[in-house]
Symmetry: C2
Subunit: 468 residues, 2 copies
């Protein structure tokens, strides 16, 4: 992986780092290994090093750090689990990376109100483990065991957003440290409110560019009485997508509906010797009462068969469920197995669901003769769709080609009325598509917000908004 040159610290930065070391002791590190660890997410973007990595323990400490950095105009990059995919955590201009993982306290669980308040460094699996005796769970599942602060900042979602919504719907309130060190709470714990501007939604998806999220209150849900899983194989992606569309339109409250293309299934067969038919495949999960889940399963099976589906399998037995979903769960490592040593470039778009077949078809044609392994999978109930490229980072021509595929993917999505990213976020990997997607006026409105909240441009500079 290419590494950025280690910037010579200016005297302002030296002053800031010295004072941070006084303030935080060992929780402020300038060790090369620590800085390298914080110089990248999980994507193909090159590593760049922050001047220092701080691990604050409280909102108050974050406010002190931000105040100090603001005074000296030193950039600040919040860092959660480091699982972002578009260079969100790369310190493009150096400065101080705030690793939030020491702030991992679960502050309150209110079972009766079905919400929980946690520090930003708590991961979703940590929260769900904590909740295990309450009968409640936190549903948003982007795959990685991301922090709730990071998931809020990137407006994450994942497989079961089709039923439970994304972070947009599931963040009740945030505590945020503003660029001047001010601390605010965006909203009360009331389930709804019309009391003023929606500060919560301003910060959800702001990728650390408007404020540092230090606490998150999220909605919880009752663990369903019954869960069942199903899978079904189709001759064409169109048939599979049509089944997903009809499932949603019939009002089936499906918890997950995932599409894997033929290449993705082939990778799973290669990885786990599953012997699955190498055709587009849908995976379903149903949540509800015993009877409700049975009914959902029947309805969807009928839709699938009507659309030419075959090899229908469904079960509510936990072990059998895992078997049915095996291919979907193996997807990441199965892809890697297709080209050991390669880097996965994962990108995503989201289109109105009616446009998904066309989008998928167009992309499939584009990448049909790719010289490296690719896969496609989709959270098809939402029109959200991922493409993975397995590239050899030592071969710049592969990176360039993946970039071209990615550009074409985004342009198909935009042409079809969609968005350049459904859930991965912009980081700096996709900021150049922002004007194309939203128009200059909308991006100008975003820029006005950024300028109002961060006039010195110290909060994760270079992210989301394209350079002027």
């Amino acid at each position: 992986m290419t590494k950025g040159t280690v910037e010579t610290m200016t005297s302002a930065r030296e002053t800031v780092v010295a004072r941070l070391k006084e303030m935080l002791g060992e929780r402020c590190s300038t060790a090369q290994a620590v800085r390298e660890q914080h110089g990248h997410g999980e994507s193909y973007h090159p590593t760049l090093l922050p001047d220092a990595v701080c691990m604050p323990a409280s909102t108050g400490e974050v406010a002190e750090i931000v105040t100090l950095c603001a005074e000296h105009e030193v950039p600040i990059v919040p860092f959660g689990a480091g699982t972002s995919l578009e260079g969100h955590v790369t310190p493009l201009r150096g400065g101080v990376t705030l690793d939030m993982r020491e702030m991992n306290a679960i502050l309150a669980v209110h079972p009766e109100d079905m919400d929980a308040t946690v520090q930003a460094g708590v991961t979703r699996e940590q929260l769900n483990l904590h909740l295990r005796d309450t009968g409640l769970f936190f549903p948003v599942d982007p795959g990685a065991d991301a922090t709730l602060g990071g998931m809020s900042a990137t407006r994450a979602s994942g497989t079961n957003a089709v039923r439970y919504g994304t972070m947009r719907e599931n963040v009740v309130s945030l505590t945020v440290v503003m660029a001047d060190g001010a601390i605010l709470r965006t909203a009360s714990r009331a389930k709804k409110s019309s009391a003023g501007y929606d500060l919560t939604r301003i910060f959800v998806g702001s990728e650390g560019t408007l404020g540092v999220i230090t606490e998150v209150t999220v909605r919880l849900y009752g663990i369903p009485e019954a869960i069942s899983s199903a899978s079904c194989v189709f001759e064409s992606i169109d048939q599979a997508v049509q089944t997903a569309v009809e499932t949603i339109q019939c009002g089936v409250p499906v918890a997950r509906v995932e599409l894997l293309n033929t290449d993705a299934i082939r990778a799973c067969n290669h990885y786990s010797k599953l012997g699955l038919p190498e055709q587009p495949t849908l995976f379903f999960e149903f949540h509800g009462s015993e009877r409700g889940v049975g009914e959902q399963t029947e309805t969807v099976q009928a839709l699938a068969i009507d659309n030419g589906g075959s090899h229908w399998q469904s079960t509510s037995d936990p072990e059998e469920r895992a078997r049915v979903w095996r291919a979907r769960h193996d997807m990441h490592f199965a892809s890697i197995s297709m080209r050991p040593g390669a880097k996965v470039w994962g990108t995503d778009v989201c289109v109105p669901i009616s446009k998904l077949p066309e989008c998928v078809r167009a992309v499939a044609e584009d990448i049909a003769d790719a010289p490296f392994f690719t896969n496609m999978l989709g959270h098809v109930g939402d029109g959200n769709f991922h493409v993975g490229f397995l590239i050899d980072m030592e071969r710049p021509e592969e990176l360039e080609l993946a970039q071209r595929y990615n550009d074409r993917l985004v342009r198909h999505a935009l042409r079809l009325g969609g968005t350049c990213t459904g859930e991965h976020g912009v980081g700096y990997g996709k900021s150049r598509f922002l004007v194309e997607e939203h128009g200059a006026e909308a991006v100008h409105a975003m820029r006005l917000l950024k300028q109002a909240y961060d006039p010195k441009n110290i909060l994760n500079p270079g992210k989301i908004l394209p350079a002027n």
Copy 2:
């Protein structure tokens, strides 16, 4: 009703009005009757007159009007159906009222994507009538036949938000005219996106203070295969609320759950001779498949009986359903019948659902010896709760007393971790609670947004934010 003095037009305003008349002809009116009609919503707030009322026919015309007003720093107040309750549409500083009702075209319905795009003046009933052959409906129901522009601007919700969400969840995208006349689209029609700041949610609930909403894309839902209704009577409000809480916690996807207090039921008996037991009563509506609805009904009935409920009635027959819900539907006119000629002052708060019994108890005590009729009803699944005061507007002491009750209601809600308004909005009736609810830092962040988007303060000035 008190009327504001008719302001003498400054020459800037005269210029603007003359040019608007040239531009719009009869669609720009300065007639006293028209201005009076646009000087108030449905609340107790005094009427104040705009200098002129314009009825634009397109987003382009709105942009022209706004550009002209911006040039001369003349205030602009967007006006939908005029059903707001906190003085939202009152032109506090005169200027131009934009009556959006000529912009009532349904621009597109995408059944496969389950969304529709309409001009801001389309009402929810108009949209649902238009959708009648599609099998789809738009669920958000604030009671009044409000415009979708107005509902977006106030972040409206209503009885079935517990299942379908509020305007926050159901607005996909907006077309907005900014304070400088720029036109932008806040988002694509993709169901989810992580592509930049959430402009949509910035304008939802902004009450015309950040931009003029001219088009709205909303989510649609499949009309459920089966609907059933139920009602149940309780000895205490606590028992009723506990039943609602348990209904939510058990994951029953209830479509509506409404609480009426004893006074509210008494009014309904008085109005319609229903002979209902004069006790706290819950009304339910269930949506789903035949079997699903049956199951939901059974589950909730068991919870209600466990909590001491009696007189359980349920039915899926459409006429019978109307009978079961009769009291709830009659509520508005039943209240008025308790004091003919009086004005209804309707206020609302929302608290975490666990705090609803305490909030209701405290408020009930406060208003127990009110010298005028009061009622309480709640969208209890959301912790949202309304109080109505029937006051004689000729008696200032009643207005003052209602104000005191309202203050106490809000302070109970805030003390219990709630919000000063769950769905009515701030207007200028509740702006003085904003700092108390959100804190000075959060209100400052709101103010920065307002200044960034409307530096001349011409968009609905005096609303939401308290005077500095």
